[in-house]
Protein backbone atom coordinates (compact mmCIF):
# COMPACT_ATOMS: atom_id res chain seq x y z
CA UNK A 1 0.00 0.00 0.00
CA UNK A 2 2.95 2.27 0.86
CA UNK A 3 4.08 2.49 -2.77
CA UNK A 4 0.65 2.75 -4.42
CA UNK A 5 0.77 6.54 -5.07
CA UNK A 6 4.33 6.35 -6.40
CA UNK A 7 3.46 3.49 -8.77
CA UNK A 8 0.43 5.38 -10.06
CA UNK A 9 2.45 8.55 -10.67
CA UNK A 10 5.20 6.55 -12.37
CA UNK A 11 2.76 4.78 -14.63
CA UNK A 12 1.10 8.05 -15.59
CA UNK A 13 4.55 9.36 -16.53
CA UNK A 14 5.16 6.24 -18.62
CA UNK A 15 1.78 6.58 -20.33
CA UNK A 16 2.53 10.21 -21.16
CA UNK A 17 5.97 9.42 -22.57
CA UNK A 18 4.63 6.62 -24.75
CA UNK A 19 1.90 8.84 -26.14
CA UNK A 20 4.57 11.23 -27.35
CA UNK A 21 7.14 8.64 -28.42
CA UNK A 22 5.84 5.13 -29.12
CA UNK A 23 8.39 2.48 -28.20
CA UNK A 24 10.66 4.81 -26.29
CA UNK A 25 11.06 6.45 -22.95
CA UNK A 26 11.73 3.92 -20.21
CA UNK A 27 14.16 6.24 -18.44
CA UNK A 28 11.92 9.15 -17.41
CA UNK A 29 9.19 7.14 -15.60
CA UNK A 30 11.94 5.25 -13.77
CA UNK A 31 13.57 8.51 -12.78
CA UNK A 32 10.23 9.77 -11.44
CA UNK A 33 9.74 6.59 -9.37
CA UNK A 34 13.32 6.73 -8.06
CA UNK A 35 12.72 10.26 -6.77
CA UNK A 36 9.41 9.63 -5.05
CA UNK A 37 9.98 6.06 -3.84
CA UNK A 38 13.72 5.37 -3.65
CA UNK A 39 13.24 2.50 -1.16
CA UNK A 40 11.18 0.40 -3.56
CA UNK A 41 14.34 -0.92 -5.25
CA UNK A 42 15.79 -2.45 -2.09
CA UNK A 43 12.42 -3.79 -0.99
CA UNK A 44 11.69 -5.40 -4.36
CA UNK A 45 15.08 -7.05 -4.81
CA UNK A 46 15.19 -8.46 -1.29
CA UNK A 47 11.94 -10.40 -1.73
CA UNK A 48 13.00 -13.06 -4.25
CA UNK A 49 13.21 -16.44 -2.54
CA UNK A 50 16.02 -17.67 -4.79
CA UNK A 51 17.82 -14.37 -4.46
CA UNK A 52 19.34 -11.80 -6.72
CA UNK A 53 21.81 -12.44 -9.55
CA UNK A 54 23.79 -9.50 -10.95
CA UNK A 55 25.60 -9.73 -14.27
CA UNK A 56 27.96 -6.86 -14.96
CA UNK A 57 31.22 -5.89 -16.66
CA UNK A 58 32.18 -3.96 -19.75
CA UNK A 59 30.98 -6.25 -22.53
CA UNK A 60 28.74 -9.27 -22.98
CA UNK A 61 26.40 -8.68 -20.07
CA UNK A 62 23.23 -8.37 -22.22
CA UNK A 63 23.81 -11.64 -24.03
CA UNK A 64 24.84 -13.47 -20.86
CA UNK A 65 21.83 -12.18 -18.93
CA UNK A 66 19.45 -13.31 -21.67
CA UNK A 67 21.07 -16.74 -21.66
CA UNK A 68 20.92 -17.16 -17.86
CA UNK A 69 17.29 -16.00 -17.81
CA UNK A 70 16.36 -18.46 -20.55
CA UNK A 71 18.10 -21.37 -18.82
CA UNK A 72 16.53 -20.52 -15.47
CA UNK A 73 13.08 -20.24 -17.01
CA UNK A 74 13.55 -23.56 -18.83
CA UNK A 75 14.16 -25.07 -15.39
CA UNK A 76 10.86 -23.67 -14.16
CA UNK A 77 12.16 -20.63 -12.31
CA UNK A 78 9.94 -17.57 -12.29
CA UNK A 79 12.38 -14.86 -13.28
CA UNK A 80 12.28 -11.11 -12.95
CA UNK A 81 14.74 -9.38 -15.27
CA UNK A 82 15.38 -6.03 -16.87
CA UNK A 83 15.62 -5.18 -20.56
CA UNK A 84 19.17 -4.45 -21.65
CA UNK A 85 18.12 -0.90 -22.47
CA UNK A 86 17.35 -0.39 -18.76
CA UNK A 87 20.52 -1.41 -16.95
CA UNK A 88 21.19 1.75 -14.98
CA UNK A 89 19.51 2.86 -11.77
CA UNK A 90 16.41 4.49 -13.24
CA UNK A 91 16.12 1.52 -15.59
CA UNK A 92 15.57 -0.80 -12.63
CA UNK A 93 12.88 1.50 -11.31
CA UNK A 94 11.33 1.44 -14.80
CA UNK A 95 11.42 -2.33 -14.81
CA UNK A 96 9.64 -2.41 -11.45
CA UNK A 97 7.01 -0.03 -12.84
CA UNK A 98 6.58 -2.28 -15.84
CA UNK A 99 6.27 -5.55 -13.94
CA UNK A 100 4.84 -4.73 -10.52
CA UNK A 101 1.26 -4.62 -9.38
CA UNK A 102 -0.14 -1.35 -8.10
CA UNK A 103 1.35 -2.02 -4.67
CA UNK A 104 4.85 -2.39 -6.05
CA UNK A 105 4.95 -6.18 -5.74
CA UNK A 106 6.77 -8.07 -8.47
CA UNK A 107 6.19 -11.74 -9.22
CA UNK A 108 9.10 -14.13 -9.39
CA UNK A 109 11.34 -16.42 -7.40
CA UNK A 110 14.62 -14.99 -8.64
CA UNK A 111 15.83 -11.66 -10.04
CA UNK A 112 18.49 -11.88 -12.76
CA UNK A 113 19.69 -8.40 -13.60
CA UNK A 114 22.09 -6.92 -16.11
CA UNK A 115 23.85 -3.93 -14.56
CA UNK A 116 25.83 -1.16 -16.18
CA UNK A 117 29.40 -1.34 -14.88
CA UNK A 118 29.36 2.35 -13.99
CA UNK A 119 26.18 2.18 -11.93
CA UNK A 120 26.43 -1.29 -10.39
CA UNK A 121 28.74 -0.29 -7.52
CA UNK A 122 26.33 2.41 -6.37
CA UNK A 123 23.25 0.21 -6.80
CA UNK A 124 24.62 -2.78 -4.89
CA UNK A 125 25.32 -0.65 -1.82
CA UNK A 126 21.67 -1.26 -0.91
CA UNK A 127 21.42 -4.83 -2.20
CA UNK A 128 22.71 -8.25 -1.21
CA UNK A 129 23.15 -10.26 -4.40
CA UNK A 130 23.49 -13.98 -3.96
CA UNK A 131 25.48 -14.28 -7.19
CA UNK A 132 27.62 -11.73 -9.03
CA UNK A 133 28.94 -12.53 -12.49
CA UNK A 134 31.64 -10.21 -13.84
CA UNK A 135 32.33 -10.48 -17.56
CA UNK A 136 35.44 -8.36 -18.20
CA UNK A 137 37.03 -4.92 -18.21
CA UNK A 138 37.59 -3.32 -21.61
CA UNK A 139 38.59 0.17 -22.67
CA UNK A 140 35.10 1.54 -23.05
CA UNK A 141 33.21 4.82 -22.63
CA UNK A 142 36.29 6.64 -21.47
CA UNK A 143 34.40 9.92 -21.58
CA UNK A 144 32.48 8.47 -18.58
CA UNK A 145 34.94 6.10 -16.98
CA UNK A 146 38.23 7.91 -17.77
CA UNK A 147 40.47 4.87 -17.25
CA UNK A 148 39.97 1.09 -17.22
CA UNK A 149 41.54 0.94 -13.74
CA UNK A 150 38.62 2.96 -12.39
CA UNK A 151 36.15 0.51 -13.96
CA UNK A 152 38.02 -2.35 -12.32
CA UNK A 153 37.75 -0.56 -8.96
CA UNK A 154 33.98 -0.20 -9.37
CA UNK A 155 33.58 -3.84 -10.36
CA UNK A 156 35.62 -4.86 -7.32
CA UNK A 157 32.97 -3.19 -5.14
CA UNK A 158 30.23 -5.15 -6.92
CA UNK A 159 32.22 -8.38 -6.52
CA UNK A 160 32.49 -7.71 -2.78
CA UNK A 161 28.71 -7.71 -2.50
CA UNK A 162 28.34 -11.34 -3.64
CA UNK A 163 27.21 -13.43 -0.69
CA UNK A 164 27.38 -16.97 -2.19
CA UNK A 165 29.01 -17.06 -5.62
CA UNK A 166 31.38 -14.79 -7.51
CA UNK A 167 31.68 -15.87 -11.14
CA UNK A 168 34.39 -14.27 -13.24
CA UNK A 169 36.31 -14.46 -16.48
CA UNK A 170 39.60 -16.25 -15.85
CA UNK A 171 41.21 -14.77 -18.96
CA UNK A 172 40.88 -11.17 -17.87
CA UNK A 173 43.82 -10.17 -15.67
CA UNK A 174 41.80 -7.28 -14.25
CA UNK A 175 39.37 -9.77 -12.73
CA UNK A 176 42.19 -11.88 -11.32
CA UNK A 177 43.29 -8.76 -9.46
CA UNK A 178 39.76 -8.39 -8.07
CA UNK A 179 39.72 -12.04 -7.03
CA UNK A 180 42.83 -11.61 -4.92
CA UNK A 181 40.79 -9.83 -2.26
CA UNK A 182 37.81 -12.21 -2.26
CA UNK A 183 37.45 -15.57 -0.48
CA UNK A 184 38.40 -18.45 -2.77
CA UNK A 185 35.38 -20.44 -1.70
CA UNK A 186 33.11 -17.92 -3.42
CA UNK A 187 34.98 -17.96 -6.71
CA UNK A 188 34.01 -19.78 -9.91
CA UNK A 189 35.65 -19.22 -13.25
CA UNK A 190 34.85 -19.40 -16.95
CA UNK A 191 37.24 -18.95 -19.86
CA UNK A 192 38.64 -20.24 -23.13
CA UNK A 193 40.81 -23.35 -23.44
CA UNK A 194 43.01 -21.91 -26.18
CA UNK A 195 44.84 -19.08 -24.44
CA UNK A 196 46.31 -17.83 -27.73
CA UNK A 197 42.85 -16.46 -28.50
CA UNK A 198 42.65 -14.28 -25.40
CA UNK A 199 44.46 -11.30 -26.91
CA UNK A 200 41.77 -11.00 -29.59
CA UNK A 201 39.14 -10.47 -26.89
CA UNK A 202 40.56 -7.04 -26.09
CA UNK A 203 40.51 -6.97 -22.31
CA UNK A 204 42.15 -3.86 -20.88
CA UNK A 205 45.83 -4.66 -20.41
CA UNK A 206 47.20 -4.37 -16.88
CA UNK A 207 50.82 -4.31 -18.12
CA UNK A 208 51.76 -6.20 -14.96
CA UNK A 209 53.37 -9.63 -14.62
CA UNK A 210 50.47 -11.99 -15.40
CA UNK A 211 48.67 -13.55 -12.46
CA UNK A 212 48.19 -17.30 -12.59
CA UNK A 213 45.01 -18.22 -14.44
CA UNK A 214 42.72 -20.29 -12.19
CA UNK A 215 41.05 -23.49 -13.28
CA UNK A 216 37.74 -22.92 -15.01
CA UNK A 217 34.62 -24.95 -14.37
CA UNK A 218 33.06 -23.74 -17.63
CA UNK A 219 35.44 -23.58 -20.58
CA UNK A 220 35.01 -22.83 -24.28
CA UNK A 221 36.80 -25.77 -25.91
CA UNK A 222 36.07 -25.19 -29.56
CA UNK A 223 34.33 -22.73 -31.87
CA UNK A 224 33.78 -23.31 -35.58
CA UNK A 225 31.61 -20.68 -37.24
CA UNK A 226 28.72 -20.61 -34.78
CA UNK A 227 29.13 -24.18 -33.49
CA UNK A 228 30.56 -24.15 -30.02
CA UNK A 229 31.63 -26.82 -27.54
CA UNK A 230 31.79 -25.85 -23.90
CA UNK A 231 32.86 -28.10 -21.04
CA UNK A 232 30.80 -27.22 -17.99
CA UNK A 233 31.45 -29.09 -14.76
CA UNK A 234 32.78 -32.07 -16.68
CA UNK A 235 29.92 -32.29 -19.16
CA UNK A 236 30.01 -31.31 -22.83
CA UNK A 237 27.59 -28.69 -24.11
CA UNK A 238 27.37 -28.47 -27.91
CA UNK A 239 25.14 -26.01 -29.69
CA UNK A 240 25.00 -23.29 -32.33
CA UNK A 241 25.51 -19.77 -31.01
CA UNK A 242 22.82 -17.21 -31.80
CA UNK A 243 25.51 -14.72 -32.85
CA UNK A 244 29.01 -14.98 -34.35
CA UNK A 245 32.24 -14.66 -32.41
CA UNK A 246 34.36 -16.04 -29.60
CA UNK A 247 33.06 -13.34 -27.28
CA UNK A 248 29.56 -14.81 -27.63
CA UNK A 249 30.93 -18.28 -26.86
CA UNK A 250 32.43 -16.85 -23.67
CA UNK A 251 29.08 -15.28 -22.82
CA UNK A 252 27.56 -18.75 -23.10
CA UNK A 253 30.24 -20.21 -20.80
CA UNK A 254 29.53 -17.44 -18.28
CA UNK A 255 25.80 -18.16 -18.55
CA UNK A 256 26.26 -21.90 -18.00
CA UNK A 257 28.42 -21.29 -14.94
CA UNK A 258 25.99 -18.75 -13.52
CA UNK A 259 22.98 -21.00 -14.14
CA UNK A 260 24.79 -23.96 -12.56
CA UNK A 261 25.53 -21.98 -9.40
CA UNK A 262 22.03 -20.51 -9.33
CA UNK A 263 20.17 -23.78 -9.80
CA UNK A 264 22.54 -26.08 -7.95
CA UNK A 265 21.30 -29.68 -7.99
CA UNK A 266 18.37 -28.75 -10.20
CA UNK A 267 20.71 -27.77 -13.06
CA UNK A 268 20.15 -30.05 -16.07
CA UNK A 269 22.97 -29.60 -18.56
CA UNK A 270 20.96 -31.14 -21.44
CA UNK A 271 18.12 -28.73 -20.83
CA UNK A 272 20.59 -25.84 -20.68
CA UNK A 273 22.08 -26.98 -23.99
CA UNK A 274 18.66 -27.18 -25.64
CA UNK A 275 17.78 -23.75 -24.31
CA UNK A 276 20.96 -22.13 -25.58
CA UNK A 277 20.53 -23.82 -28.96
CA UNK A 278 17.08 -22.32 -29.42
CA UNK A 279 17.86 -18.76 -28.36
CA UNK A 280 17.34 -15.91 -30.79
CA UNK A 281 20.16 -13.37 -30.89
CA UNK A 282 19.99 -10.55 -28.39
CA UNK A 283 18.53 -7.71 -30.38
CA UNK A 284 20.88 -6.30 -32.97
CA UNK A 285 23.68 -8.79 -32.29
CA UNK A 286 23.55 -10.60 -35.59
CA UNK A 287 19.79 -10.15 -35.73
CA UNK A 288 18.28 -10.62 -39.19
CA UNK A 289 15.22 -8.52 -39.96
CA UNK A 290 13.07 -8.33 -43.06
CA UNK A 291 12.48 -4.85 -44.42
CA UNK A 292 10.17 -4.54 -47.45
CA UNK A 293 10.87 -8.19 -48.24
CA UNK A 294 14.64 -7.76 -48.03
CA UNK A 295 16.74 -9.45 -45.33
CA UNK A 296 19.04 -7.11 -43.43
CA UNK A 297 21.48 -8.02 -40.67
CA UNK A 298 21.79 -5.68 -37.69
CA UNK A 299 25.06 -5.53 -35.78
CA UNK A 300 25.36 -3.39 -32.69
CA UNK A 301 28.71 -1.89 -31.76
CA UNK A 302 29.15 -0.20 -28.42
CA UNK A 303 32.79 0.42 -27.71
CA UNK A 304 36.20 -0.01 -29.33
CA UNK A 305 36.52 -3.71 -28.68
CA UNK A 306 32.94 -4.63 -29.57
CA UNK A 307 33.33 -2.62 -32.78
CA UNK A 308 36.57 -4.39 -33.58
CA UNK A 309 35.25 -7.86 -32.71
CA UNK A 310 31.95 -7.43 -34.49
CA UNK A 311 33.57 -6.05 -37.63
CA UNK A 312 36.15 -8.86 -37.54
CA UNK A 313 33.37 -11.43 -37.20
CA UNK A 314 31.24 -10.14 -40.07
CA UNK A 315 31.41 -12.31 -43.18
CA UNK A 316 34.19 -10.94 -45.36
CA UNK A 317 33.31 -9.38 -48.67
CA UNK A 318 30.07 -7.70 -47.62
CA UNK A 319 28.74 -5.63 -50.50
CA UNK A 320 26.16 -3.38 -48.86
CA UNK A 321 27.04 -1.80 -45.54
CA UNK A 322 25.45 1.11 -43.70
CA UNK A 323 27.47 2.46 -40.78
CA UNK A 324 25.67 4.59 -38.22
CA UNK A 325 27.20 6.22 -35.15
CA UNK A 326 24.71 8.07 -33.02
CA UNK A 327 24.57 10.57 -30.22
CA UNK A 328 25.45 7.95 -27.60
CA UNK A 329 29.09 8.14 -28.69
CA UNK A 330 30.05 11.33 -26.90
CA UNK A 331 33.68 11.16 -27.88
CA UNK A 332 34.09 9.40 -31.23
CA UNK A 333 37.89 9.45 -30.89
CA UNK A 334 37.85 5.75 -30.04
CA UNK A 335 36.82 4.90 -33.60
CA UNK A 336 40.47 5.52 -34.45
CA UNK A 337 41.52 2.58 -32.26
CA UNK A 338 39.52 0.25 -34.52
CA UNK A 339 40.92 -1.33 -37.70
CA UNK A 340 38.05 -1.86 -40.15
CA UNK A 341 40.14 -4.27 -42.25
CA UNK A 342 37.39 -6.86 -42.55
CA UNK A 343 35.05 -4.42 -44.25
CA UNK A 344 35.29 -4.28 -48.01
CA UNK A 345 32.99 -1.33 -48.50
CA UNK A 346 30.82 1.14 -46.62
CA UNK A 347 28.10 2.65 -48.80
CA UNK A 348 26.53 5.04 -46.37
CA UNK A 349 27.64 6.72 -43.14
CA UNK A 350 24.99 8.22 -40.93
CA UNK A 351 23.90 9.09 -37.40
CA UNK A 352 24.63 12.11 -35.25
CA UNK A 353 28.37 11.43 -35.58
CA UNK A 354 28.31 10.72 -39.32
CA UNK A 355 31.06 13.25 -40.03
CA UNK A 356 33.39 11.76 -37.39
CA UNK A 357 32.79 8.26 -38.73
CA UNK A 358 33.28 9.42 -42.32
CA UNK A 359 36.61 11.06 -41.41
CA UNK A 360 37.81 7.80 -39.83
CA UNK A 361 36.58 5.64 -42.71
CA UNK A 362 38.12 7.85 -45.40
CA UNK A 363 41.48 7.61 -43.65
CA UNK A 364 41.11 3.84 -43.96
CA UNK A 365 40.47 4.09 -47.69
CA UNK A 366 36.66 3.90 -47.77
CA UNK A 367 34.64 6.12 -50.08
CA UNK A 368 31.04 6.16 -48.87
CA UNK A 369 28.66 7.50 -51.50
CA UNK A 370 26.55 9.27 -48.89
CA UNK A 371 27.42 10.71 -45.48
CA UNK A 372 24.61 12.44 -43.65
CA UNK A 373 23.29 12.76 -40.12
CA UNK A 374 19.76 12.27 -41.50
CA UNK A 375 19.08 8.62 -40.63
CA UNK A 376 15.84 8.40 -42.61
CA UNK A 377 17.41 9.80 -45.76
CA UNK A 378 20.46 7.57 -45.33
CA UNK A 379 18.43 4.42 -44.82
CA UNK A 380 16.11 5.12 -47.76
CA UNK A 381 19.08 5.86 -50.04
CA UNK A 382 20.87 2.71 -48.91
CA UNK A 383 17.88 0.43 -49.34
CA UNK A 384 17.47 1.78 -52.90
CA UNK A 385 21.01 0.74 -53.84
CA UNK A 386 21.19 -2.44 -55.98
CA UNK A 387 20.81 -5.71 -54.13
CA UNK A 388 24.08 -7.38 -53.15
CA UNK A 389 24.84 -10.51 -55.13
CA UNK A 390 26.77 -12.65 -52.64
CA UNK A 391 26.01 -11.27 -49.20
CA UNK A 392 23.34 -9.79 -47.00
CA UNK A 393 22.75 -6.09 -46.48
CA UNK A 394 24.38 -5.24 -43.16
CA UNK A 395 23.83 -2.36 -40.77
CA UNK A 396 26.55 -1.64 -38.22
CA UNK A 397 25.28 0.83 -35.66
CA UNK A 398 25.80 2.24 -32.20
CA UNK A 399 23.04 1.96 -29.59
CA UNK A 400 21.49 5.37 -30.23
CA UNK A 401 21.50 4.90 -34.00
CA UNK A 402 20.06 1.42 -33.48
CA UNK A 403 17.15 2.71 -31.38
CA UNK A 404 16.36 5.44 -33.88
CA UNK A 405 16.57 3.10 -36.87
CA UNK A 406 14.45 0.44 -35.13
CA UNK A 407 11.85 3.03 -34.18
CA UNK A 408 11.88 4.40 -37.73
CA UNK A 409 11.25 0.88 -39.04
CA UNK A 410 8.44 0.32 -36.58
CA UNK A 411 10.23 -2.12 -34.27
CA UNK A 412 8.86 -0.54 -31.14
CA UNK A 413 9.98 -3.12 -28.60
CA UNK A 414 13.71 -3.40 -28.00
CA UNK A 415 13.30 -7.10 -27.23
CA UNK A 416 11.32 -7.86 -30.38
CA UNK A 417 13.81 -9.88 -32.35
CA UNK A 418 13.21 -11.65 -35.60
CA UNK A 419 15.15 -14.69 -36.63
Amino acid sequence: MRYLPAIVVGRLARFGVRLIRPGGGSALPGLVLSKIAPGILKQTFSRFTDGLVIITGSAGKSTTTKMVVAIARAHGAEVFTNPSTANIKQGFYSSILERSNLFGRVKGTVAILEMDEGHAAEIVRDLTPRIVTVMNVVEDQLDRFIDPALVRDKLALVAQAATEHLIMNADDQNLLQIAASRPRALQHWFGVADKTQVASLGYAPTYLPPLEVPNCTSTVLELKNRKVRIASHGKMVDFELPSRGLHFALDAAAALETAKQLLGGRFDVKLAQETLASLPPVFARGEIVTINGVEVEFTLVQNPISTQLNIDNLPSGLERVLFAIGRDVHDPSWLWTVEPKNLQTVDVVTGFNAAEAELWLRHHGFNPSLATDDLALAFEYWMALPEPTNSMRTVVFSADAMRRIRRMLGFTSPDEVQR
Binding site: I146, P205, D331, W334, W336, T337, A355, L359, R362, H363
Partner: protein, 217 residues
Protein backbone atom coordinates in the same frame (compact mmCIF):
# COMPACT_ATOMS: atom_id res chain seq x y z
CA UNK B 1 47.32 10.40 -59.75
CA UNK B 2 50.64 9.49 -58.18
CA UNK B 3 53.41 12.04 -58.18
CA UNK B 4 57.06 11.07 -58.06
CA UNK B 5 58.43 10.88 -54.53
CA UNK B 6 59.52 14.18 -53.04
CA UNK B 7 61.56 12.37 -50.42
CA UNK B 8 61.19 10.21 -47.34
CA UNK B 9 59.68 11.32 -44.05
CA UNK B 10 59.93 9.21 -40.90
CA UNK B 11 57.15 9.41 -38.35
CA UNK B 12 57.88 8.03 -34.89
CA UNK B 13 55.35 6.62 -32.46
CA UNK B 14 56.50 6.80 -28.85
CA UNK B 15 55.38 3.52 -27.22
CA UNK B 16 52.52 3.62 -29.72
CA UNK B 17 51.32 0.12 -28.87
CA UNK B 18 50.55 1.32 -25.32
CA UNK B 19 49.59 4.94 -25.85
CA UNK B 20 46.45 4.78 -27.95
CA UNK B 21 43.71 4.76 -25.35
CA UNK B 22 41.68 7.41 -27.15
CA UNK B 23 42.79 6.84 -30.71
CA UNK B 24 45.68 9.30 -30.66
CA UNK B 25 47.63 7.08 -33.06
CA UNK B 26 45.06 8.23 -35.62
CA UNK B 27 47.12 11.42 -35.78
CA UNK B 28 49.95 9.48 -37.36
CA UNK B 29 47.51 7.92 -39.81
CA UNK B 30 46.25 11.40 -40.71
CA UNK B 31 49.76 12.79 -41.06
CA UNK B 32 50.98 9.80 -43.06
CA UNK B 33 48.06 10.03 -45.47
CA UNK B 34 48.52 13.79 -45.85
CA UNK B 35 52.22 13.50 -46.57
CA UNK B 36 51.65 10.64 -49.01
CA UNK B 37 49.07 12.55 -51.04
CA UNK B 38 51.53 15.46 -51.00
CA UNK B 39 54.00 13.14 -52.72
CA UNK B 40 56.28 12.00 -49.90
CA UNK B 41 57.27 8.47 -48.94
CA UNK B 42 56.40 7.88 -45.33
CA UNK B 43 57.78 5.37 -42.88
CA UNK B 44 56.36 4.90 -39.38
CA UNK B 45 58.77 3.66 -36.72
CA UNK B 46 58.35 2.59 -33.11
CA UNK B 47 60.18 4.82 -30.66
CA UNK B 48 61.23 3.80 -27.17
CA UNK B 49 64.45 5.72 -26.57
CA UNK B 50 66.17 9.00 -27.37
CA UNK B 51 68.25 7.72 -30.27
CA UNK B 52 65.19 6.34 -32.07
CA UNK B 53 63.29 9.54 -31.31
CA UNK B 54 65.85 11.85 -32.89
CA UNK B 55 65.90 9.70 -36.01
CA UNK B 56 62.28 10.55 -36.67
CA UNK B 57 61.04 13.70 -38.39
CA UNK B 58 57.85 13.90 -36.37
CA UNK B 59 56.93 12.17 -33.10
CA UNK B 60 53.60 11.23 -31.63
CA UNK B 61 53.52 10.80 -27.85
CA UNK B 62 49.94 9.73 -27.19
CA UNK B 63 47.65 9.34 -24.20
CA UNK B 64 47.68 6.06 -22.31
CA UNK B 65 45.87 4.42 -19.43
CA UNK B 66 47.25 4.68 -15.91
CA UNK B 67 48.50 1.11 -16.27
CA UNK B 68 50.20 1.87 -19.58
CA UNK B 69 51.91 5.00 -18.27
CA UNK B 70 53.11 3.16 -15.16
CA UNK B 71 54.50 0.38 -17.33
CA UNK B 72 56.70 2.72 -19.41
CA UNK B 73 57.51 5.33 -16.81
CA UNK B 74 61.07 4.13 -16.20
CA UNK B 75 61.85 4.01 -19.91
CA UNK B 76 60.36 7.46 -20.49
CA UNK B 77 62.54 8.81 -17.69
CA UNK B 78 65.65 7.55 -19.45
CA UNK B 79 64.83 9.61 -22.53
CA UNK B 80 66.25 13.13 -22.81
CA UNK B 81 63.07 15.02 -23.57
CA UNK B 82 64.73 18.42 -23.66
CA UNK B 83 66.89 17.16 -26.52
CA UNK B 84 64.02 15.31 -28.21
CA UNK B 85 61.54 18.19 -28.16
CA UNK B 86 64.21 20.59 -29.39
CA UNK B 87 65.38 18.33 -32.21
CA UNK B 88 62.16 16.85 -33.55
CA UNK B 89 58.69 18.31 -34.04
CA UNK B 90 55.95 16.31 -32.42
CA UNK B 91 52.55 16.04 -30.86
CA UNK B 92 52.05 15.08 -27.21
CA UNK B 93 48.55 14.28 -25.99
CA UNK B 94 46.82 13.94 -22.63
CA UNK B 95 48.81 11.79 -20.22
CA UNK B 96 51.93 12.42 -22.34
CA UNK B 97 51.53 16.16 -21.76
CA UNK B 98 51.03 15.53 -18.06
CA UNK B 99 54.17 13.41 -18.07
CA UNK B 100 56.16 16.21 -19.75
CA UNK B 101 54.74 18.65 -17.20
CA UNK B 102 55.81 16.36 -14.37
CA UNK B 103 59.38 16.50 -15.69
CA UNK B 104 59.24 20.30 -15.58
CA UNK B 105 59.33 20.69 -19.34
CA UNK B 106 55.93 22.34 -19.10
CA UNK B 107 54.28 24.29 -16.33
CA UNK B 108 53.38 21.86 -13.53
CA UNK B 109 49.90 20.34 -13.41
CA UNK B 110 47.32 21.52 -10.93
CA UNK B 111 44.17 19.50 -10.44
CA UNK B 112 40.80 21.09 -10.91
CA UNK B 113 37.92 20.11 -8.69
CA UNK B 114 35.82 19.16 -11.70
CA UNK B 115 36.78 16.89 -14.55
CA UNK B 116 36.01 18.31 -17.98
CA UNK B 117 34.74 15.75 -20.47
CA UNK B 118 33.56 17.52 -23.60
CA UNK B 119 34.59 19.05 -26.91
CA UNK B 120 36.61 22.23 -26.49
CA UNK B 121 38.69 24.52 -28.65
CA UNK B 122 42.15 25.87 -28.02
CA UNK B 123 44.40 28.48 -29.58
CA UNK B 124 47.82 27.92 -31.02
CA UNK B 125 49.09 31.13 -32.59
CA UNK B 126 46.57 32.00 -35.26
CA UNK B 127 45.03 28.52 -35.26
CA UNK B 128 41.86 27.52 -33.48
CA UNK B 129 41.86 23.80 -32.73
CA UNK B 130 38.90 21.56 -31.86
CA UNK B 131 39.10 18.33 -29.92
CA UNK B 132 37.77 16.31 -27.01
CA UNK B 133 39.07 17.13 -23.56
CA UNK B 134 38.72 14.61 -20.74
CA UNK B 135 40.89 15.87 -17.92
CA UNK B 136 40.87 17.25 -14.39
CA UNK B 137 44.13 19.13 -14.89
CA UNK B 138 44.58 22.85 -15.47
CA UNK B 139 46.82 22.30 -18.48
CA UNK B 140 45.75 24.40 -21.47
CA UNK B 141 44.00 22.73 -24.37
CA UNK B 142 46.99 23.35 -26.60
CA UNK B 143 50.44 24.89 -26.22
CA UNK B 144 53.94 24.61 -27.72
CA UNK B 145 57.09 23.38 -26.02
CA UNK B 146 60.15 23.67 -28.23
CA UNK B 147 58.98 21.94 -31.43
CA UNK B 148 56.28 19.91 -29.69
CA UNK B 149 52.58 20.65 -29.84
CA UNK B 150 51.27 19.67 -26.41
CA UNK B 151 47.52 19.20 -26.30
CA UNK B 152 44.92 17.94 -23.89
CA UNK B 153 42.55 17.44 -26.83
CA UNK B 154 42.79 13.77 -27.57
CA UNK B 155 41.90 11.56 -30.50
CA UNK B 156 42.54 12.47 -34.12
CA UNK B 157 43.07 16.17 -33.48
CA UNK B 158 45.17 16.53 -36.64
CA UNK B 159 42.55 14.87 -38.82
CA UNK B 160 39.75 17.20 -37.76
CA UNK B 161 41.90 20.35 -37.82
CA UNK B 162 43.37 20.49 -41.34
CA UNK B 163 45.34 23.70 -40.69
CA UNK B 164 47.06 22.08 -37.71
CA UNK B 165 47.67 18.99 -39.84
CA UNK B 166 49.33 21.14 -42.48
CA UNK B 167 51.48 22.81 -39.83
CA UNK B 168 52.56 19.39 -38.52
CA UNK B 169 53.27 18.15 -42.05
CA UNK B 170 55.35 21.21 -42.86
CA UNK B 171 57.35 20.74 -39.66
CA UNK B 172 57.98 17.07 -40.42
CA UNK B 173 59.07 17.83 -43.97
CA UNK B 174 61.40 20.59 -42.77
CA UNK B 175 62.88 18.27 -40.13
CA UNK B 176 63.53 15.73 -42.91
CA UNK B 177 65.47 18.41 -44.80
CA UNK B 178 62.87 18.46 -47.56
CA UNK B 179 60.55 21.08 -49.00
CA UNK B 180 56.80 21.01 -49.00
CA UNK B 181 55.51 21.43 -52.58
CA UNK B 182 55.03 25.10 -53.39
CA UNK B 183 52.05 24.20 -55.56
CA UNK B 184 49.78 21.55 -54.12
CA UNK B 185 49.51 18.42 -56.26
CA UNK B 186 46.02 17.58 -57.48
CA UNK B 187 45.79 14.63 -55.10
CA UNK B 188 46.56 16.86 -52.12
CA UNK B 189 44.08 19.54 -53.17
CA UNK B 190 41.33 16.95 -53.50
CA UNK B 191 42.17 15.42 -50.12
CA UNK B 192 42.27 18.81 -48.42
CA UNK B 193 38.90 19.66 -49.93
CA UNK B 194 37.46 16.49 -48.38
CA UNK B 195 39.11 17.14 -45.02
CA UNK B 196 37.78 20.70 -45.01
CA UNK B 197 34.25 19.55 -45.81
CA UNK B 198 34.16 16.84 -43.16
CA UNK B 199 35.92 18.91 -40.49
CA UNK B 200 33.54 21.80 -41.07
CA UNK B 201 30.63 19.46 -40.30
CA UNK B 202 32.33 18.24 -37.13
CA UNK B 203 33.00 21.80 -36.00
CA UNK B 204 29.38 22.77 -36.69
CA UNK B 205 28.27 19.88 -34.49
CA UNK B 206 30.59 20.48 -31.56
CA UNK B 207 31.25 24.22 -31.27
CA UNK B 208 29.73 27.61 -32.03
CA UNK B 209 33.08 28.78 -33.34
CA UNK B 210 33.63 29.13 -37.05
CA UNK B 211 35.76 26.56 -38.82
CA UNK B 212 38.56 28.08 -40.89
CA UNK B 213 39.43 26.06 -43.98
CA UNK B 214 42.92 25.08 -44.95
CA UNK B 215 43.71 26.96 -48.16
CA UNK B 216 46.57 25.64 -50.25
CA UNK B 217 48.24 27.44 -53.08
Amino acid sequence: MTTSSKGRVVLGSVFGNRLNLNGDQGNLLALKKYLEVAGFEVEVIAVGDTSAAVNAHFLLFGHGSQAAMNSIDARLEKMDWQVVTAAVPGLAVGSAVEWLAATNLLAPVKRRAERVSKFETGELGNLRVLGYRNSDSDLPNIQMHNQFIATMLHGPVLAKNPRLLHKAAQAAVKCAGLEFPKVAPETLSAWVEQLNQISERIWALETDETFVKLELV
